[in-house]
Subunit: 142 residues, 2 copies
DNA sequence: TTTACTGCAAATAATTTGCAAAACT
DNA sequence: AGTTTTGCAAATTATTTGCAGTAAA
């Protein structure tokens, strides 16, 4: 997967050290193609290199976010997930029953929302990673 | 203020016991007219009746939510706030710098958003208390 | 009187931090 | 070599819970 190499290269260019731990964390979330909790990333990394600790995973994830290479999404209820950035602004639909996060495209509507909060209330909304809770189709039926 | 009496009456009618603690918690959030954290509610109640504990405040707030008389809003980053319900669906604009929560009216847009997530992804969004983070007008300038 | 509710203190859960040792570059 | 990063264990923060006592109804 080329995506993680890009990320690693970018960090190296910025003068950061690439440790095996960082590499594994990046590979893990970049590969997954979805949103993962720190714990999930830890499980994966820890399986590959058991000496890796959870605090290192937290530090690395926060580091990636601070470098603008990943996004941290707080879904509420103590459910925090991370993902590498690779797409433009999108909407996260978070199912409150099964916990899955669906990434969908509703750019025009989001842009309109941002425009209105700006014009009417002077509020600059962070809409790059807005997440909305609700019930997904699967969970609705049952 | 009549609002809290309504709430108390409703609980009494449903057969719950109205303790001084519950009364004070309800008065506090109903009076404030804004969103308060459990800690803030606790400070107020505790000043009036020092024997009241934080766990009672938590229990009472969750109780009000479960009875549908208050809403709990997780703004992310460990910032959880409560407010009595008295208005229809609204949008919470949460300033990530100063922490203030602005309640605004953008019903048509929200409805449109709900309609689209439903039609296109079968996702039933909880839009009664959607909160969006960003920067408010005051914090933007500085 | 009955049993819902409270206070207390201890348990959780998720995340953060201090510090000395390890390891990128 | 020199500084960044890690591991470990302990600290934090926000919230929850068990249990025995208190008090609404």
């Amino acid at each position: 997967m080329p995506h993680c190499h890009t990320l690693i290269e970018r960090l190296r260019q910025r003068g950061y050290r690439i440790t095996p731990q960082r590499e594994m964390v990046i590979e893990t979330i970049a590969h997954s193609g979805r949103h993962m909790s720190a714990e999930e990333v830890y499980e994966e990394v820890h399986r590959r290199a058991p000496s890796t600790t959870l605090s290192t995973v937290y530090r690395t994830l926060d580091f990636l976010v601070s470098e603008g290479l990943a996004c941290k999404n707080d879904l509420g209820g103590g459910h925090v997930v991370y993902a590498t950035i690779r797409h433009g602004p999108h909407l996260h639909l978070h199912c409150r029953r099964c916990g899955r996060v669906y990434q969908v495209e509703l750019a025009p509507l989001l842009e309109e929302l941002g425009r209105q909060t700006q014009e009417r209330y002077g509020f600059t909304a962070d809409l790059q990673h807005l997440s909305i809770s609700g019930l997904c189709a699967d969970c609705r039926e049952t």
